[in-house]
Amino acid sequence: MVETALVDWSRLQFALTAAYHWLFVPLTLGLAVVMATMESVYVATGDEFWKRTTKFWMKLFAINFTVGIATGIILEFEFGTNWSNYSWFVGDIFGAPLAIEGIFAFFIEATFFAVMFFGWEKVSKRFHLASTWLTGIGAAISAVWILVANSWMQNPVGMEFNPDTVRHEMVDFWALVLNPVAVSKFFHSVFSGWMTGAIFVIGISCWYLLKGRERRFALSSIRVAAIVGIIGTFAVMLSGDSSGVQVAKYQPMKLAAAEGLEDGGTRAGFSIVPGVEVPGVLSILATHDIDGYVPGINNILEGYTTPDGERHLSAEEKMERGDIALKAFSDYRALRESDPAAAAEARALLDENVEYFGYGYIDSKEELVPPVGLVYWAFRVMVGIGGLLLLFMVVVLWAERKGRLEGMRPLLWAALLAIPLVYIAGQAGWIVAEVGRQPWVIDGLLPVKAAVSSVSVAAVQTTFWLFVAIFTLFLVIELRIMFKAINEGPKTENE
């Protein structure tokens, strides 16, 4: 029996690593754009002030970048160390984007980061600028591939199950890459990084204004960052909208959980907070049609028929077909050498039911419901903070353009508060995506509990606490170093 404790600790360990990794990645994605824009201004105008401004943000970028790398390598290898069954069962598909990420993206980042950081006096101005952009582009390309991999887990496409090798095998590479979920997820994640970078720069710059220091530096940085941040937020909203439609289509249970929707229907209402509902809005968000049908948790468990007549199986029917698939799989494996005719029969039965293979591992239908409260509130936190931050950045940009920003001290204080908020929103987004898809590691095909490695609970607990200790230590040190560097300032005042 796969121990529940082993599954829970393995899941917690992965969640911990991913959450820590996502503390550092969005700033890398966003700050890269902000500082590359600043360096572009430097190259275009030749004004040394912009060079110093760029260099200051680059310094903070480097401190953050390094911890992102450290947490990232653990994630990659955890697929093998803690999810070994997963690694074989879908490695034929999942390994490819990870390898491509290394070959295409990480080498760009590694090479041009070194040129960007140490090459000011070694390469030409334009070459240096190209390196700064390429560092950011490398980070974005790496996001493409890791999100292609993640999206495949949410909406598995382009593969077939092969019972001889006991794994899913890739049959269509482009279906994997152009998976609609991957496209939305890429824009949603990368542009949320732009928001993080923008809020980070605005927050620190406003702190200088509160202190009456680095005036030109702060105002110039705010202008660039607010523009990047506003563009980013609109892109996040657009991609979030298409994400919503996709979740409704491919992972209706995740959507029902995110809405706390027990019984769905047409003209489904959107819950702002429990008890406050706007009629019809959920149908619009999920299907772009006010009369669209959105199933609730109970509908999904009990089975439902959409208005166009399409019937969706109940949880019990899916579990039955999963059992059939698993049994047919075992029969096929047992008979394929001794009795080819019976094996062919088993194979046909397996093929017929393979879509529900993962349901064979599910013990009760309650297992199929993710933690509703967590997903519901995480979604509201993400959307609520996102909206607030957009408003905030618009006001900041307006005040800066009107020359009134320095006098608006509450707004400057709000900018400091916005920094933790943007991180909370990013984490909440991933909670919606990843907690919302439980119990599946690959939607419908493999539950988390069938994906773990055969290691002891104690081993996973040990590494879990080890990672907690190391990552927390890194985070504390990173923050201390950042605060010192910020306090020291960019030293642009004499310009």
């Binding site: 390094t66 093998g80 074989w88 390898a99 990480f106 890739m170 590479f173 075992s330």
Partner: protein, 380 residues
């Protein structure tokens, strides 16, 4: 004709190439092991840290890509070895994680632990990473205790495909002398490469003198271990595979592979000669600083040859001592033909990647690193 079998061989060749490049790039770790040994003053220690510090991300990225490529091309190895030899891989990872932040943190105000602690992390990684990676690769020749049963997926209560046969989860590898010898050989090699790289990269006569002394010591140790490992490779039993895919023990299998594949034998010999020449020239001529550019290709070739001996010519590259039938071969552990073919197309970009890395490496290293540069420009 590009057959499935061809693709499996092609991908093993790429794994061998990445393995070779990784061992060469572990000169970063080797250099870091010398921080306190060769660096007699703060100035010298800082030169070493800044010199390897401009290359560490390439090593790190190669390690990540090596892992990703292995995952994509031979996923059964990824799932069996990483999930099985759990502690070895976790230890390796942790030392790399400590290394990753140490450069950036070591001299920054507010770093909590102090410069020395972070340099100790770098040294720890410099010692443990090559040693453990080498020991793990040693098990490619001596085997590990595991079972692979793909039908287990049908057992609802325990669907795990790969299981380790003991509770040590990889740590037992150190009880086999050959594995340890292999690990030490890699450690002494990477330290020698580190010394060669630093001699080439840093403009400091006093440091160069000290580095040459350590090069002599570590390379002598390497040669001893290399000969011991070669002796074992010639005489030891290997894990052979017959036409039906059955694994059996064969006396002198790895030596036989070498003789059966003259190209691989040539690679090994040319690699070893280049490696030795790079060191000998450096030690004999005090003005000669380019030894790394002989020893680096030598290392890549020699390591590639070792990977090819253990993977090609009907050999199980990741054998199981607990159950011979569970042993991994490049045929039974690879990705599907479609995936290998797709990834083969992707691999065509590799020469381009290598080319731009080499170009920028030259651009950045036109002049040797000096204390003035560290003090005036950006530095760790």
């Amino acid at each position: 004709m590009i057959t499935y079998e061809f693709l499996q061989h092609y991908w093993w060749l790429l794994i061998a190439l990445l393995g070779g490049l990784l061992v060469f790039l572990l000169f970063v770790q080797g250099g870091n092991l010398l921080i306190f040994l060769a660096g007699k003053s703060e100035e010298e220690r800082q030169l070493i840290v800044n010199s390897t510090g401009r290359k560490w991300e390439l090593t790190f990225t190669t390690l990540v890509t090596f892992g990703g490529a292995f995952f994509a091309s031979f996923p059964l190895f990824y799932s069996t070895s990483f999930g099985g030899a759990y502690w070895v891989w976790v230890l390796i990872l942790i030392t790399f994680v400590l290394q990753a932040v140490s450069y950036e943190f070591q001299r920054k105000a507010g770093n909590l632990l102090g410069t020395r602690t972070f340099r100790i992390f770098l040294t720890l990684n410099g010692c443990l990473a090559p040693l453990l990676i080498g020991t793990a690769v040693g098990t490619f020749f001596t085997g590990s205790a595991f079972y692979v049963d793909k039908s287990a997926v049908g057992h609802i209560a325990a669907p795990v495909i790969s299981r380790w046969a003991n509770e040590w989860h990889g740590l037992e590898a150190v009880t086999n002398a050959f594995n340890v010898e292999f690990g030490l050989m890699v450690l002494f090699l990477t330290t020698s490469l580190g010394a060669l790289y630093l001699i080439n990269n840093i403009a400091s006569e006093s440091l160069a003198k000290s580095l040459r002394r350590y090069l002599a010591i570590f390379f002598a140790l390497f040669l001893v271990m290399f000969l011991v490992v070669c002796y074992h490779l010639i005489t030891m039993e290997g894990f052979a595979v017959d036409a039906a895919g059955e694994v059996y023990m064969e006396k002198g299998k790895y030596f036989a592979n070498l003789l059966a594949m003259p190209a691989v034998l040539t690679m090994l010999l040319v690699g070893a000669v280049l490696l030795v020449l790079g060191v000998v020239f450096t030690l004999l001529k005090s003005e000669f600083t380019r030894g790394i550019w002989l020893s680096a290709p030598g290392t890549v070739l020699a390591v590639m040859a070792l990977f090819l001996i253990v993977g090609y010519n009907n050999t199980a590259y990741y054998p199981s001592t607990a159950d011979l039938a569970s042993s991994l071969t490049i045929a039974n552990s690879s990705s599907s033909e479609f995936t290998l073919r797709t990834m083969a197309v992707v691999s065509l970009i590799i020469p381009f990647v290598v080319a731009y890395i080499a170009y920028f490496w030259r651009q950045m290293d036109r002049n040797s690193l000096t204390t003035e540069e560290i003090n005036e420009g950006e530095s760790y």
